[in-house]
Symmetry: C2
Subunit: 329 residues, 2 copies
């Protein structure tokens, strides 16, 4: 197994990606390798700081840099030798099995769709975001790859999300909910009401629990929450900001001794996104993981773990087979 | 000033509404009165427990009860003598100036629109939800009265929200943001992009700051966040659940002495919705305040304060004048 990692994407590159790669090695199968993408000299210099002697981390030169604020499609087209372009092409050629980046999200999405291609029946891939809860995390998709999502697209999100929950999150019989504003099938906007009917009327390999509300996302009843990318993106960013608000409030009000206690450490851990390390781009032919721009080395390390699990469990093959089965195509 | 209060609406009725009314008297102008609506004997018995000798709280008989789970429109039509129906008719006749209920939200919305009527240019009223933040609260609307909101409706939400922020929330020069998935005008779904153009291209008596993202809602840059009712409802319910998750986490992890500290009390206060007491239904001709079904006496008391302020500041007249001005009609 070979995992390609964008070493120059994200606010803390190249430090965080390179440290994340070094840190991830013990988590991976002994034969697995990591390929770092970026300007060769720069990345090698960063890697040298870690004195890694495993021989399992290589650098492949990708001299072009896609900035965080660049227009995605234009950047992908004008910079074929960027870390994103080169990393994804390795996967298309079969020289790598997964790609991870904390760089320009739009560019990673566009390049993944263009270079890896999409599974049959997928119009646009969906971003699956892991939401921390008091117990196990929940997958919310789409978290922002699409807007004005059609009912058929929402149905395909349910399928790919359920397979991800089973293969990568280890949920044996995934429960999938459709995000709406009431439990009854007739509650919701036009697209959600139609998606509800599509999901209710078909056979599938997961439990469709019907509509769930905003308050149910974190309640632990469901493994996957399906929604339009506009709604998912708003809720994802809102959740991040609430976690910041809470931790900020605690820091403002509580004394140092309390803040540094183990108990408070456990509270902060729950609210820490980096535990889940990255959001899968679901629907592409292959494995592409998008990390938050502010990803730490720990977040990257965890994203590498997610990528490895996706490869080992044959996530992409399972998604392809399910969608080709026609039920969601 | 006379404020009509549904004494039998909500999970903790009649205790919470009646206690809330008694508690609110000191907050109100000395001539203000409160009218409690519900089955006369039952409500009078509850009121008697408080030994209120002010003479400023009266009971008016409304023998029919609308259940929390009843279909709104059918309930409104079949029960004209419910607390909701009688209370709103008092306002239409001029015998009361505001109505407050923690009962069936859909029924309060439907009855408010039917009985009070809507301001010119309003197709459906919007629910304005107060979101607690680390500093001053922010008004999010629509929080669930509408789905598939049109760009013109979103524009009218911006207008009524800004007037509410000025009149009732005391913001002198309200900043209004349009909820989207990126700051640039071209980011968003079809309806939001069009609403952005409508708001950008017109003159109005508030600052339109453009698009805001999910992470900006609580950041304190804006006084009002405008969105489709589907999105607003999801985010509102999600926020409530996050506040619960967070307090639950603290309760699980922290020791009693810390939990009972004044500092932790301040943290919990920020996360307590009841501080803001109720969501105004904006766009109706009059004042109608919808409280959470789980409202405590404190929440009701605060809602009465909000209603009184709305009446004193001539909120409804200001909204009517703004909308009749044509800019958002």
């Amino acid at each position: 197994m070979r995992i390609a990692l964008d070493a120059v994407g994200g606010d803390f590159a190249p430090d965080a990606p390179v440290a994340g790669a070094v840190g991830a090695l013990p988590d991976l199968p002994p034969t697995a390798e990591i390929v770092l993408l970026g300007p060769q000299t720069e990345v090698e210099a960063e890697l040298a700081k870690h004195g890694d002697a495993s021989g399992r981390i290589r650098v492949i030169d990708a001299p072009q840099i896609v900035g965080m604020a660049e227009k995605p499609l234009a950047a992908v087209r004008s910079k074929p030798h960027s870390s994103i372009g080169v990393g994804l092409k390795l996967q298309r050629e079969g020289s790598a099995h997964a790609f991870i980046s904390a760089g320009n999200t739009g560019a990673v999405m566009a390049a993944s769709a263009l270079i890896l291609g999409l599974h049959q029946g997928v119009e646009r891939p969906a971003i699956g975001a892991m939401f921390p809860t008091a117990s196990k995390p929940v997958l919310v998709l789409d978290a922002g790859a699409n807007v004005d999502t059609s009912p058929r697209e929402m149905r395909s999100f349910a399928h790919v999300g359920a397979i991800y929950a089973r293969d990568v999150m280890g949920r044996k019989d995934p429960a999938v909910g459709l995000l709406s504003i009431g439990e009854e099938p007739e509650k919701g906007n036009a697209a959600v009401k139609e998606a509800h009917q599509l999901l209710k009327d078909e056979q599938h390999a997961f439990r469709f629990v019907g509509n769930v509300e905003g308050r149910d996302i974190l309640a632990g009843h469901v493994d996957v929450v399906v929604c339009d990318g506009f709604v998912g993106n708003v809720v994802l960013k809102f959740y991040e900001s609430v976690a910041h608000l809470f931790t900020g409030l605690l820091q403002r009000e509580m004394e140092e001794t309390v803040l540094r206690s183990e108990a408070m450490g456990r509270v902060f851990t729950v609210l820490d996104y980096s535990t889940y390390g990255g959001a899968p781009l679901l629907g592409v032919r292959g494995v592409s993981i998008i990390c938050h721009g502010r990803s730490s080395a720990r977040a990257i390390r965890n994203a590498i773990g997610v990528a490895a699990r996706s490869v080992e469990r044959h996530l992409s093959e399972h998604i392809g087979a399910d969608l080709a089965g026609g039920s969601a195509a």
